[in-house]
Subunit: 260 residues, 2 copies
């Protein structure tokens, strides 16, 4: 539908326009937008006019930004909002008890996508960002989601070549397989310094009403002397609360029984 001479679909061009904006580029001039989106200037300018007319882009003086209406439409209908609204009160509880950043992540396209983060700026070094991504094998959230995920997803994951970030990043498939089994048995994952040497991530799975592990709830604590046992208890308690808010009836299904 509506392909350009280069074969690009209109939808693909639109994605490139949206992708041109990010945390470091929240406003762009039309020329910058065309360049970052890799579109001919005339194409970009026409598309910008259409997007402005539909409030998918907003004008900010002479610069452009993603439209507030676009955020609204996407947020309103997205499963992400439902999950983070269910989780946020419980994340506040964890943050009060543990006193460090509390983070919620989901598995998306073979990576951990963080959908919520709360905590003071004085907490431990924490490189997670809302709408930011980190690799599965180097995060406690990633390993928890993998451990409680479908077997075929695990097998695909274990066949991939994985980069090493620090001395403690596990990349060996056999060792990762052992770690996943351990996480399933314990019901939580503790990962120390796999991306940032100074930090330890602690994560538990969050199950929905159907018993699927849909998210990982985690805290990022200091590597040395962090409140490990407190974190595990607080996270497990909060994860049950989130599941209940998502419609879980309190019956322990197999997957949940293994983890709680």
């Amino acid at each position: 539908m509506a392909n350009s001479p280069s074969g690009d679909s209109m939808v693909h061009r639109l994605v490139r326009v949206i992708e041109a904006f990010d945390g470091e580029h929240r406003t762009l001039s039309a020329a910058e937008l065309a360049r970052r989106a890799g579109l001919p200037t005339s194409t970009a300018y026409r598309l910008v006019e259409e997007l402005l007319a539909e409030s998918l882009l907003d004008r900010d003086g002479r610069r452009l930004r993603l439209g507030t209406r676009l955020w609204e439409l996407v947020s309103r209908g997205s499963k992400v909002l439902g999950l983070r609204e269910a989780a946020l009160p419980f994340m506040e509880d964890v943050q009060s008890v543990v006193g460090h950043h509390t983070v919620l992540g989901i598995l998306d396209q073979n990576e951990v996508l963080y959908i919520e983060r709360i905590g003071s700026n004085s907490s431990t070094i924490n490189i997670t960002k809302v709408a930011g991504r980190l690799p599965v094998h180097a995060t406690s959230t990633g390993l928890v989601l993998m451990a409680f995920g479908p077997a075929d997803v695990q097998e695909t994951f274990l066949r991939r070549r994985l980069p090493r970030y620090t001395d403690t990043t596990t990349t060996d498939p056999d060792e990762l397989r052992r770690r996943l089994a351990e996480v399933r048995q314990m019901g939580f994952c503790v990962m120390t310094g796999a991306i940032v040497p100074e930090s330890t991530g602690v994560a538990v799975p969050v199950f929905n009403a159907e018993g699927t592990a849909i998210a990982g709830l985690s805290v990022v604590i200091p590597r040395a002397g962090g409140p490990l046992q407190t974190s595990i208890s607080a996270l497990q308690t909060a994860a049950r609360g989130i599941s209940r808010a998502l419609g879980w009836d309190g019956t322990l299904r197999d997957a949940i029984r293994r983890s709680l």
Copy 2:
């Protein structure tokens, strides 16, 4: 660009597809999507295939939902995320001190658009929703944003015919003008029962580094016996914190001096 025989642009059709999803319709079959978007089935099906290919829609069994990737792209580049990230820690502070729902709203297309809400489900009746809208004249957030907004926006607002929701909704332009002046002088707005009879909203403006009132921070407390004075102090303190997080250097500009 790429208009259909009916004259609809591709971008407009895409907006209708995204709009078809909301909090009550987070998943749709392709046929439901075509119907809700008001598109011919064949057009809708082709568009769905393209959107799936770009991960702007996700498949959930036989149903469709807005793509997690769409949420990610839009959140990453949106000014909304920057504002709510700056505000969230201070909103938690207000919620701890006041003990009721704490809400952040912005003015968008003549309405208040709520971009964040925290608080326990046991708090006072509160009809605000994240990515939901309420009318300016019937919310404390709306009046605060109007009172500290540009004069021409105020004049346009005061010329509009406004609906009455309860006995206490102010709709008379002269009375609204007096209320706006009062809000500017006091630096906060208290609105009782203007939409829901049992609730009182209390709001203060949040200024950015340039001294523009970019958001309203509010709590929703019970109409009878709610912690009014505590709310005002907590909100004013938190609003200054958010401004500082947004780059305000602590110098009191005119607009800020009037309100703090």
